[in-house]
Symmetry: D2
Subunit: 435 residues, 4 copies
């Protein structure tokens, strides 16, 4: 049985097509900078937004029409596997991501949950083997169930810490079973509602203890996985510990975790923290910690995570430029952590929305490649920082100067000439690359 | 000649007084937790806001009436020293802080600037010796002069790096000369206007090089000073590198600077970065990096640094609680990085505003001491985190558990019971301490 | 059967008590400015937050323990009536508010819904008659059900407009039946997700048509009710039409509705729109449109509606000052549109949270009365605006001047002297009223 | 003497050119929808940002190199007239805008200021006659001078009201003299720093009195000018009265001013108020009050008015679509209320920045025309709102229904079917118009 009987495999048809179920810009096999678009972009579908999300919001009941839902939770989970792989294949996406609770019902006990996970991951593995579709990453949902009301690894209740450990242990085993190359932590409840009753140092220590246990267990089961942390400043917590890329790097350095962890950066989380997506990627790269990307976009005039499908070509161009400069995003990928608007509640909107996101990233990739080819950024950086290539600038870089020697120099060179950035010209020229 | 002839030494008169030139809550000699209020609070006056700030804003010309201004910049600077010490003494504040350009005119050359600084700091030293008033910290203003248009240590122009080095060298010499115990860096232009033309890794490396040179020079001149960085997320830059406490700690760890640097935290900078002041202090303490405080408050509905005098007793209470828990703020202090509103343009408003701030901090200190005495926070933390004192929780803390052992435990203890926080009760009770 | 068997009627016990189930500041019979606190404050409990809200959030499942929930929706609704009136009585609150869907299940058809409403409102009426507790206002929930995905009166689907009409018709009939004195509209879905597909003028016209129909129907059934609109800028919509008080007044004037509608202002909605609560109340009063208050508080560092119980005494003091100046809030009241934190999930937290809110408003009322008695604000306003009491200022107010006459005056009086506001002094003195 | 000797008249050269001093998209004579681009866009240069702005910011001294500055203020003003008209002509812009203080020094008395204005406007008029360049609008700066510290028409000091009247009287006379078609009010200081000492109703009444006097004087001197108000939510004031378009319409309706006033909308002011530029234009149009546009863009992650030159093609496309739908913007225009970045301090950056803005608007115009031609929006609106064209929807629009008749209808039609918006598809398709 097909869940999307009216949708065929999505093809690239170019901008002339009037077919909404076609790519206008994403041509998976088009070669750019020596790799196909598919290889560059490593798109993943997010199980939660595509297969379990229901269209509800804090003021509204579910709107989404999803034909896989039945009265039997396990049957629904199995249907989602069917529907998911049909969707991945028709869309032509090679990766997927999930939280444990997305794929299997929690049941009434931890034991039941683990058994359910086994049964469903067997089914998923079968589908993966049949289709060649791969697991970009999985994670444990340690924020939805009421037991996490006070946190998971940071919970004030040690039993919750233990429960979380059980979930992550299983998550790592599933990761190994399915050949996942990354394992993600997003600490939605690792933060606080109020500092009045929070022992922040203890909670941070506990999270670090938890991460070290995860690293140790991955070694124990000989699963060579890249751990990723996904920063977010807030929501659902009033304040989350992994506020942004830099905050997370402070934590990882403090607790000696930089060898095992990189960052999974999300566009909407960046803007909620007061940064651009590009900023977060640049910061991560400066710490050699760019792991993977969660592709979406926020509404910068709203203060919560809207998780819209990415359609802004400025954002995808600047993100893809960083990815190209990084030599690619593998073993990470570009995961659509994005949900259809509540008013886009029909089954086929799932295709339309992913096509929108994929086309927007394809445009971004093409523009970024052209920017790189033309040296748009590098020429400008060379021009601006030329003074560090010779003379006093080079001596500074080479570690040959100190305050006294520089002060002597400055006394001789105190009538300083700066050059204009011509930033408006730069911004205007960038526009011509977006086409 | 007196600049404030109509104001006598400000005295504590209690809440019954109708005299606006009196403290209603700050009694410098009142003993709290074994120290006088004066010893706890270590108040400092900020030279820039009190003696040089003119009341202008981006849409408005100066409004402040300041009788020390003359046509001769050096005379004006000398007048400010007179006026400043008269003000500090009458106010009963024992510390002050300044940027180099606050105290002396830059003149037409670096040489002239350094000479001016020598002359004025001689005068300041004389006044300090006479009055016993001390230097909490000084800093170099490397953001106002047009030469810093592209940054200081992060400038794309190496000559600016050198010029900055000359300023900081002098700043450290002045610090030693005046017995300053802290030396502050605030990187107002160390950030970017646009990532399109910014080499972020190079700029960060250069800032680190600069800081190491400063550390080396302090050692060279045998000046045992505590270096401080003051985080701020933005303004004047679109994005500053020292975004907040955690971001700064990431940087300091990366560049091996944590032995020399702590943080100077400002309330208004905290809220601009999306945090409470209390959060920033708590984070700094978790990194053992609480250095000093810039006391002011922002308007949380405005997106720029309003630098208002602190009058919110919630904020000062929670800040002072952290200070008490920290065992005090020395060698740092509480510096009023606050300016009178543009509409409070009369000379005497300087007194009224500082009295408001000092009274508000005095109330905060008293409330914090009572909170500590009653164990308001500690009882609640003990209750909440009790599960980590025994059993599985203690085993986690003691490093005796791993994912497997915890998973076994969780299978036996998966029906988790959490307790309510009763957070509303806690917030309501807190109110009774503010009185 | 009692739902809160362990809680007795909440009494005023003053600040010495250690009993958390007692008022520390709210003494219902204490007379202030000639009226009891109870008469001033006209507190109401919100059915939705207290009796139906479940503690879920966008990332979390329900946490609230509520013993009235059964498998039978009608029985649950009846239990809520029992529990509600027990709660109102024990708390000593004289008013309540509800949406239609809060009190009765929607069933499978409109007909069934209307019948359910009849049955439950009979029960409510009986309880009201027994207890003397009154209906402050009711409203129709036209935002939760998926049918309102595109709006209610502003829906792109005319059938939804009709359905909404049926709900409001019933709502007005219920209002009459239960003696409600206000009827509220909150347009959670009256706004847009995107302007790309929105006919804003048509949608606004339709809302106005809808409001006029409601006014006409109230007249028809001879129900002399005060209509209220509750502004909110956003959430769940990306942008709501009734953004804030002023925006709503623009709409009401345009569509000739000011004779029938006033405003129901909420503190958290104010801050989401970039205003203080006090601002919104002041603006409403300037349009003679202060109707009622939704008492809560937001977290100004978060961008969504947190609906916390009010515990900030600055906010309640300034709000209550405006209420006193307004000659009271009747026929409106102070409705706790506030929910217990997700971590305050026990039944008794409902009491603790309301007590916190009531005590905070009681403190605000007492402080406001003292401010009024002392002429704190009026003296300052008299001083500041004195120039409009005589001379040229009075002539301006009296309409005797024009640009030419004023220009002549200005030529003679162009060396203008302003006076300082001493705003810092004012803010500091305000603190002494909060005690 | 030429101020820009190295810049020739800017020509359209298309996207192939490498000449930075050429238009790549703006071809003034290209015909679109029956009018030339020049006629559609009615670009204006803002005197303040281009001729007087100095590159300072709250933390930085002036950076701009401007060769017209001399030690003699009147000579500098005259030089600016020369430079301005050279700039307007070379850029090919037909309109300009100014505040009174931009064009002439205030001198030491009002009398001197008026005389200076006469002398400079004589010179400007001469230049206008020579070149055919026109005045889009002028305004009085009633916010920079310290006399406006408490407001202008809303000042607590009646002498300031009178002084403001003198300025506006002169402004209207200059408008008549120079053939200005619009006259603008921006109330930068018409708002408050704190409500604690503000008589908001009195201040609003006074502003209305002031506006009526202006209307009366324009009639008196027989100058048929369109009055415009420019909304802005805040900055420099903590809260400005003309917060946004809707707030301003509430005020204009209350005080019976809608016949004389329309709105001058600025992109950056829109985002500061929590709206998109498109939203503000749409709201203004719904009140028949779209007057003119201030073209710039803000940084949505910053909380102050950055006044950047517009380079975002999404924004200009959606704005120009509204302008086309409005039948054009005349007698208003598109005024570049935008300043070069502080780091773009060279004289020629003024050209580069305006070219960037003009090219971006030209792209927006072309995209908007194509959207209109293809019926991109209208088709979607027709589809979405089809239910109001017939049946019950049409009856609602025609005023034939009431709550009772609709309730009857709803009982028969309560199983409502909505359609998906497919918003993601719409957004993706929009991208293809931006090229």
């Amino acid at each position: 049985m097909a869940y999307f009987p009216n949708v065929d495999k999505i093809k690239y048809e170019g901008t002339k097509t009037e077919n909404p179920f076609a790519f206008r810009h994403y041509d998976p096999d088009e070669v750019i900078e020596g790799k196909t678009m598919k290889e560059h972009l490593r798109f993943a579908v997010a199980w939660w937004h595509t297969l379990t999300q229901d269209g509800s919001d804090p003021f509204g009941a579910p709107t989404n029409i999803r034909t896989w839902i039945t009265d039997d939770p396990m049957q629904t989970s199995k249907n989602r596997v069917e529907a998911g792989f049909e969707f991945f294949e028709k869309l032509g996406v090679e990766y997927f991501c999930f939280h444990d609770v997305d794929i299997a019902p929690e049941g009434d006990s931890l034991e039941e949950f683990l058994a359910n996970l086994d049964e469903i991951t067997d089914l998923i593995k079968e589908k993966m083997d049949q289709t060649g579709i791969k697991l970009l990453w999985n994670t444990a949902n340690m924020f939805t169930n009421p037991r996490f009301v006070h946190g998971a690894a940071s919970s004030s209740n040690a039993d919750v810490f233990a429960y979380s450990a059980a979930q992550v242990k299983k998550g790592l085993e599933i990761s190994k079973k399915l050949g996942g190359k990354n394992y993600v932590f997003w600490g939605g409840r690792e933060g606080y509602e109020s500092l009045l009753n929070t022992d922040l140092p203890l909670e941070q220590d506990n999270i670090a203890r938890f991460f070290h246990m995860a690293v140790d267990y991955a070694k124990e089961i000989k699963h060579d996985v890249q751990f990723l942390i996904e920063p977010k400043p807030l929501e659902p917590s009033k304040h989350q510990y992994d506020y942004d890329a830099a905050t997370t790097m402070a934590f990882l350095q403090k607790y000696d975790l930089t060898d095992y962890f990189k960052l999974n950066l999300e566009a909407n989380h960046a803007t909620l923290a007061g940064h651009t997506f590009e900023h977060e990627i640049t910061v991560a790269r400066s710490y050699n910690a760019l792991g993977s990307l969660d592709a979406n976009q926020g509404d910068v005039l709203l203060g919560w995570d809207t998780d819209e499908f990415p359609t802004n070509i400025y954002d995808t161009t600047l993100a893809m430029y960083q990815v190209l400069e990084n030599g690619g995003i593998a073993p990470g990928g570009i995961n659509f952590d994005a949900k259809v608007r509540r008013s886009s509640f029909e089954m086929e909107d799932l295709f339309l929305a992913h096509i929108a996101g994929m086309d927007t990233f394809a445009r971004g990739l093409k523009a970024a490649a052209k920017l790189k080819e033309d040296g748009f950024f590098t020429k400008e950086l060379d021009r601006r920082y030329a003074s560090y290539k010779t003379g006093i600038g080079k001596a500074i870089i080479d570690g040959k100067e100190n305050l006294s020697s520089l002060a002597d120099y400055a006394l001789e060179h105190d009538q300083i000439k700066n050059q204009s950035n011509h930033l408006e010209l730069l911004k205007s020229r960038l526009n011509d690359y977006l086409v």
